[in-house]
Symmetry: C2
């Protein structure tokens, strides 16, 4: 590397460091054109200096690499609170001003850049949706590497660098995501270059990876399938040289690996390059403050000088620190970066702050969705046949997979459950991504597969988020109970989407779609540990602009729902559907209409007398509750034929919310037209019953609403015993109706007793026979 | 190892394999005393054979090791659905019959053991609370190793073996928990012996770790700080020999390491032993079924022969398989295991199924809780002083830490936030556990520290669960938003405790206590990504016997709450309390009374006229809402002095639930006495407002309940702007009161306008000044 080039890189790095420190401290006097005074300092000092110089170093050197090789590249910035550095770099490469014209690449823009940082009404201290060039929120740690891989899949020309902080490296999700390298195909996927940045400390502690013997760390990373290139130092010049060499070497190895795979079909299974960068925490900041060491210790994590407004020594020290970067050499008198600073900065969409992959909606193409008629099941009359809904969906997904074989912009992820969730048809269209060793007995493994199975919900979620945020489509199929594993990740993704929607420059991206199956009511042999319907509650707490929850009750409604969610953008769609054989209730046309409405009356299922209107509403959401409600409606028709019963099925849960609370919410007149303002409603719901109250508590008829659902009464048992244990069974529902409709008389009392007797016999049987629970006789809809 | 001993071990292993297969298949004819007929077979075949032979091998060999060395040992069985194996072994060592006398160690008991497995009303297919000797639920994967370490901490004489399945090894939490070895102190802690069992497959796929080159796997495990001993094979005799040698060698290394540390004070920082066991999936089961290979493939995962009742070939094959173990050599005619089978089985509490550490409540001692008077803050009148509640709590925790210095049965865990959460006083009493390298600038690190900080909520939670289930006490301090990371883990722990409570033989264990701080209202510089109060909603969906949620509003109530939760058993207690300076509202005595009631009227804060009763109730839960409600009450007193206002504060959220729904729930008369049946209630709540509706929807006065709380409107901003954005501010609350109390007249209308004007001015200021949000003037309670 020529001396001059090193000097260019160092100038850029110093500029970025200056700008990072400036964001933490300065309210005014951004170019230090006058001596620093207390009133130039922010009243409350917030932000994280510690990680900034390292991130600035990486950005500076990635700039050089990208520019020299005209690379299509982006970077995922993992370290927490790395905002000052990434913002500084985006301002330097001009992408910040392109995105936010009020913050120009000049002195006034610099002043604004400084003021807005970690300031009320301003920008967060970590990388966020507001940050140009970013697909990764640096607030919650653990997901940088899986995001990077998600971005690289099916982007063969893309290089995704990924900076992993040594704090983040301690998290479970990050530790698990190292396995991702075993799934990356050098032919169809781009490259991921992990850069493990060991600055040695987290908030108040050393990090483990920085303190284990270096040979153990090296061994660990080799075990993860990497060939680590170590860059260590605290002398800028030598670190610049080493870092530039390391990146050149890494790119060489990546290119060779890709070329061998793409042109000769060889997959060397060589370890892939990565960089271990060891530089001091808070490098180039104050070495000592008030007599204690700061640079290179955990004390540099946040604000190294904390009393600058009050303490003249601190103020002097800050000024000396800022001037140590020699800003007058870095910015002209108008505050614009000098040519030397910009010498290695790429241009246009090659800038890391402007790569379109990091604003993936720009690249999104609509999925080629086939007509549902090819996949729908015939329904001449309701309840005459059964299908496994997810198996029917599998046909649709397989077709989409086949129709995107060239485009490669659709993936299905899941923790080893695609087959078990009855989506096996997918394997007629593609394989399971797999780069590790194979045996002759293996099935469906393929280096270029677009079904991705790894026994980590975290990694699945991270991959898919990265894939979506770079503009592509997907589906996550998961056991209902275990999707809670990614509660916190989906929180952050929802927050990302909510914020993105407020940023006009962010193009909408495909929605994150969950298919939750193997659900709470059918854990016949797994029992209590596999029973949890609460993900829906979790999601519905979050931003209503983003979240949608669907309970299609049969095969055709599942198809119609899938078609809808795969077309949607910037949402998180949760679709809950069983994989067990379920009655077909609606024809495809009826299913489409019903799903478009989100909730509706099933006239054919009830006994509503149009003259008097319903005396009671039997409502349901979910496949098992729908089944029990229809059975209850049938019992009522048989035993109390004069009772006017309306059956309502809800697919789109947000319909229950007031219109003011959710874009899908019903107005009060709409709600009352379905549920009535004053008649008893017996609602059988798939999950925790109080969710329905939480959604509907403002409705006029709420006091008349009675909900049955899962109340944490689970075990290994038959499907029928499960509904009895949770008071969701047809007999209990009939009793609920009778208890709530006034004036039904002696006939109803006798029916109620008969229902209670069935339940008593069931309980007696359980008590007497213990294990030998009978399944109820097959029931069929005769309505 | 003498031949005879190998033969003993093999006999035990065959017996366990026979019993595991029997559980999956047999309804009757347990000893195969007659030819196998279809009616001997279970009608529905459920269970997981694949992992069983490997687990049986490990159990057989651990028995030998324990017996030969008279070890105090337990084992954490990680692989999913490993139930058949662990139950078989517990039945063999007699601990199963000791625990469940109706299932004797004889033919009839064997028949019952078989029938109950994965059968309605029976036992789960995975290791569970019902399983003697277990502290680990095998239903959700990822936590075995952190549980094992949690069990070993502060149990210096205990050996905790931990079998990790190669499926589980792909999860993030497991991958992250390998770091635990960097925190285990050979002096004060016991030993953990990880046994990575590679049988090569998960449900339908190979596992990654089984298919990477062996040298990479070895390198990975060395990187984790281990010296792997590899045991590989499919010939039982040679595997027995190798496994016995491996365990002897591992024990030797562990003992040497412990002795060196304990007697000479040397900490060699040598890598610790672990075993990599590679045996075929479904080993000794059918090699081929219907012409396709099964043993040694993913097809052996569950039930290798699936149509035994219907298909005579399958029936014959099953019989041949079962007879291949030569049951007549293993069990006498009464079905009792022979002497050879039991030759290596330990006795009494040395049996893995009977070790008291695995029923940890047996060993629990009450914590030495000091009088709170030493820590309480003086409160002569409400709101006269401020304290940081968590800092006050820190004093109490430090004292407990000091008073358990010898007993070592109390730990505090957290992801690097103890100091940031203002619990730093703990470091006057103990250090932070740390075994890796140190530098002179480090602070508070100590090999024997009992504060545990690792940047992984998963590992923190896993450690603490293991520590609790072996009978010890602890606290998890966590940022409120990021505790969602362990949503799924706490689910499983709650399920464990719920089931444990129904098992008379399981002694109650100390509760799992969360301190959630750095909460949603005070993320001034972190913003939206750090704002999430939903963990409480998640927890309150779960079993009411187990879950408790507390919102102490000031320092003394936090002390009283902490005192309570640290005494409780078999609960999950969530305590949400701020770390920022907060007014002291209650004296210690008043705090105790208030917390014991869980909710109560603060007479001093309201203007209730006893003659007419309240015209409105201002209710609050949480420190910030309490602050705003008191400010609102003060505004009302000032502006509408004749209005009869009652102020109610809720600490224990479950009080709001009906008594029938939660043991802490209020009866309707109690609720009405606090909140009135018919007056408007304006409730300011810390989290999502609909939670309050979900808790109180059955109450008479529900239609009059109006709740304000966090509604996902967050950003970087001042505390005051946060409450304004979410309509939780004092001015909005006063407006809410005026809007809801009828007949207040013109004076009230003017007050309402004045309040609205304050809010408008605030919004205008934000619009006009952007970044430069003013903080509202200091407010003090003058009531």
């Amino acid at each position: 590397m020529p001396h001059d080039r090193i000097a260019d890189l160092d100038a850029h790095w110093r500029a970025a460091n200056y700008l990072a420190a400036g964001q933490i401290y300065l309210l005014d006097n951004p170019l230090l054109t006058e001596p620093l005074r207390p009133e130039h300092i922010k009243p409350r000092l917030l932000g994280h200096w510690g990680t900034s110089p390292g991130l600035n170093l990486v950005h500076t050197h990635l700039n050089r690499l990208v520019r020299e090789h005209d690379l299509d590249a982006m970077c995922v910035w993992g370290p927490g609170h790395g905002g000052p550095a990434v913002l500084a770099n985006s301002w330097l490469d001009g992408s910040y001003s392109d995105t936010y014209p009020t913050i120009g690449r000049d002195a006034d823009g610099m002043r604004r850049l400084f003021r807005q940082f970690s300031f009320p009404g301003g920008v967060p201290s970590h990388v966020a949706p507001e940050t140009p060039g970013s697909i990764h929120e640096g607030g919650e740690l653990g997901y940088s590497l899986s995001h990077a891989y998600g971005a690289a899949f099916d982007n063969p020309d893309l290089l995704v660098a990924c900076v992993i902080g040594d704090g983040e490296a301690e998290t479970g999700p990050l530790a698990g995501s190292w396995l991702s390298s075993r799934f990356l195909d050098p032919v169809h996927d781009g490259a991921v270059l992990p850069i493990l940045h060991l600055n040695g400390y987290k908030i108040a502690n050393p990090t483990v990876l920085a303190r284990i013997p270096e040979d153990e760390l090296d061994s660990l990373l080799r075990g993860h399938g990497h060939d680590p290139i170590h860059v260590t130092g605290d002398d800028p010049r030598s670190v610049h040289t080493a870092m530039a060499d390391a990146l050149d070497r890494a790119l060489e190895l990546i290119t060779a690996d890709q070329q061998a795979a793409r042109t000769k079909g060889t997959r060397a299974r060589t370890r892939r390059p990565m960089i271990v960068l060891r530089t001091p925490k808070g490098w180039t900041g104050p070495a000592e403050v008030d007599g204690v060491p700061v640079e290179g210790t955990w004390r540099a994590h946040q604000v190294p000088l904390s009393s600058v407004r009050e303490n003249p020594d601190h103020l002097r020290q800050l000024e000396a620190w800022l001037r140590s970067y020699r800003p007058q050499e870095l910015f002209d008198t108008d505050g614009r970066p000098t040519a030397r600073v910009l010498a290695c900065v790429p241009e246009g969409t090659r800038r890391l702050g402007a790569n379109p992959h990091a604003n993936g909606g720009l690249l999104t193409r609509d999925l080629p969705l086939p007509p549902l008629e090819h996949f729908g099941v015939p329904v001449d009359k309701p309840g005459a046949a059964v299908h496994e809904p997810t198996r029917v969906l599998g046909g649709l997904l397989a077709r989409i997979m086949r129709d995107t074989a060239q485009r490669r912009d659709f993936r299905v992820v899941g923790p080893d459950e695609t087959e078990s969730n009855r989506l096996g048809a997918l394997f007629e269209a593609t394989g399971k991504a797999w780069q590790a060793g194979t045996l002759p007995t293996d099935e469906h493994l393929a280096t270029d597969g677009r079904v991705m199975e790894v026994l980590s919900e975290h990694t699945c979620q991270g991959w898919l988020e990265g894939y979506h945020l770079t503009g592509r489509h997907g589906l996550f199929s998961c056991y209902e109970a275990f999707v809670h594993i990614v509660d916190s990740m989906v929180n952050q993704h929802i927050k990302w989407l909510k914020t993105s929607r407020t940023l006009p420059w962010r193009a909408p991206v495909p929605s994150l779609n969950y298919l939750l199956t193997s659900h709470v009511w059918r854990q016949d042999h797994n029992g209590f540990s596999h029973q949890d319907p609460g993900f829906v509650d979790h999601v519905l707490n979050k931003s209503p602009e983003v979240v949608r929850v669907y309970f299609p009750p049969d095969a055709n409604t599942l198809l119609a729902t899938a078609d809808h969610v795969l077309r949607s953008r910037d949402c998180v769609n949760v679709v809950v559907a069983g994989k067990q054989p379920t009655f077909d209730w609606l024809s495809l046309d009826d299913a489409r209409t019903h799903c478009a409405r989100g909730a509706g009356i099933w006239e054919w299922a009830g006994t509503e007398d149009p003259a008097k209107g319903p005396e009671v509403v039997l409502a349901c959401a979910g496949d098992v509750p729908t089944h029990e409600v229809l059975a209850a409606a049938q019992l009522l028709r048989e035993h109390l034929p004069d009772l006017s019963v309306r059956v309502v099925n809800v697919v789109d849960m947000a319909r229950l919310l007031p219109r003011e609370e959710h874009p899908h919410g019903m107005t009060d007149p709409e709600y009352d037209a379905l549920f009535t303002p004053d008649r008893p409603v017996v609602f059988a719901y798939h999950g925790y019953p109080w969710l329905i109250h939480r959604l509907a508590y403002r409705r006029t008829g709420h006091a008349q609403l009675h909900v049955r659902g899962y109340k944490e009464s689970g075990t290994i048992t038959t499907p029928f015993d499960m509904v009895v244990r949770n008071d969701l069974d047809r007999y209990r529902l009939v009793m609920d109706v009778i208890d709530r409709v006034p004036g039904l008389g002696v006939r109803a009392a006798a029916v109620r007793q008969a229902m209670a007797d069935v339940r008593t016999r069931h309980h007696d049987w359980v008590r007497a026979h213990g294990l030998d629970l009978p399944e109820v006789a097959d029931w069929t809809w005769t309505g």
